[in-house]
Assembly symmetry: C2
Homo-oligomer: 177 residues x 2
DNA sequence: CGGTAAACGGAGTGGGCCCCCGTTTCCTGG
DNA sequence: CCAGGAAACGGGGGCCCACTCCGTTTACCG
């Protein structure tokens, strides 16, 4: 891949991240191209469909979340670490507005499962540690917690305190009986 | 309001309901007009913005849900009635895809609060009955349950069994300690 | 430093949203 | 029953956006 191509690609992803945070997942692709200082054709060559661009933006966040999972596990005891990390997941979902939802209904299941696998693997360590510590029921899976967290953040859009309240409520049920 | 105007308005709402169920909240307004047998100008006169049309479609579902709340309360004991009704809420949210989400981020708060009030009032009776029966914690509000239910249905889009599982999990926390 | 292949970007196409305005349809009072 | 007027209709046009084509420019390599 040529150097200028890589440079443009990175600029587009960065600008798209900002635009999506500002205007939601249906931000104008032409404006993103303009703000990135490239022609619309360049944007469409790198990202043939809006979905592909959203995926590229989302991939960055996913990797950041995975890093944060490891960092949190190193700093806190198992139970609190899990909750704190889930709050991070929630904040990211809220910051990205409906980005996750747009990707869920996207036509490419392989990307979805890839991110799913990455984030699930990162969360798995936190959950199994919390389970060993007796803070989580044995029939609660990582994916359940992630789905609930995403859903709550989506529903409480724009109100972090509300999201925290609802998440706390939803997580009430994960402790062993 | 003239008879033909009312007829067209009803046709448009009905067709829009089908189109939204098929294609999501961003279905083509022109195709809706075409399928309803009216010109695009007529659609835009009745519904100046897409948001207004979505609201009209949503209003029908809300009224149906309110009716169902009363019917369920009459047929079942308080605790089960609440859960059964929340499942109805979840099924409707799933059937309408992201319609509820689109309305949440809409610019008209008065409509949102109106529906909010209607559905909250309908659910309030179920919740207070369940609370008197000792099935619900005193610090859990109707709005919390509705938000959770909507969020879960949104997240488990297209998989009723999954939605039921997650909702059951989320509702684990509403019982008194 | 020159040639080549890759990448770029402006211009063009098609479709969607929305509005203007001449035409048609409905209601009502005589 | 009918005629006048207001209300509703809908085709056509403007504008914006997603997406593509192709002549031009740029980066890499020998």
């Amino acid at each position: 891949m040529r150097a200028d191509a890589r440079r443009n690609r990175e600029r587009i992803v960065a600008v798209a991240g900002v635009a999506i945070a500002e205007q939601g997942a249906d931000a104008s692709l032409e404006e993103i191209a303009r703000r990135a200082g490239v022609g619309s054709a360049t944007l469409h060559r790198h990202f043939p469909t809006r979905q592909v661009l959203l995926e590229a933006v989302f991939r960055d966040r996913v990797e950041e979340l995975c890093d944060r999972a490891r960092a949190t596990a190193a700093e806190l005891p198992p139970g609190p670490a899990l909750v704190v990390w889930l709050r991070s997941v929630g904040r990211h979902a809220a910051a990205n507005r409906g980005l996750a939802a747009s990707l869920m209904r996207g036509a490419d299941p392989s990307f979805g499962s890839a991110c799913h696998a990455m984030i699930t693997a990162a969360g798995e360590e936190l959950v199994s540690a919390a389970r060993r510590a007796g803070d989580v029921r044995s029939d609660v899976a990582v994916v359940d917690l992630l789905t609930l967290t995403n859903a709550v953040s989506l529903a409480a859009e724009g109100d972090p305190a509300e999201a925290d309240r609802l998440l706390t409520l939803a997580l009430e049920g994960i402790r062993p009986a």
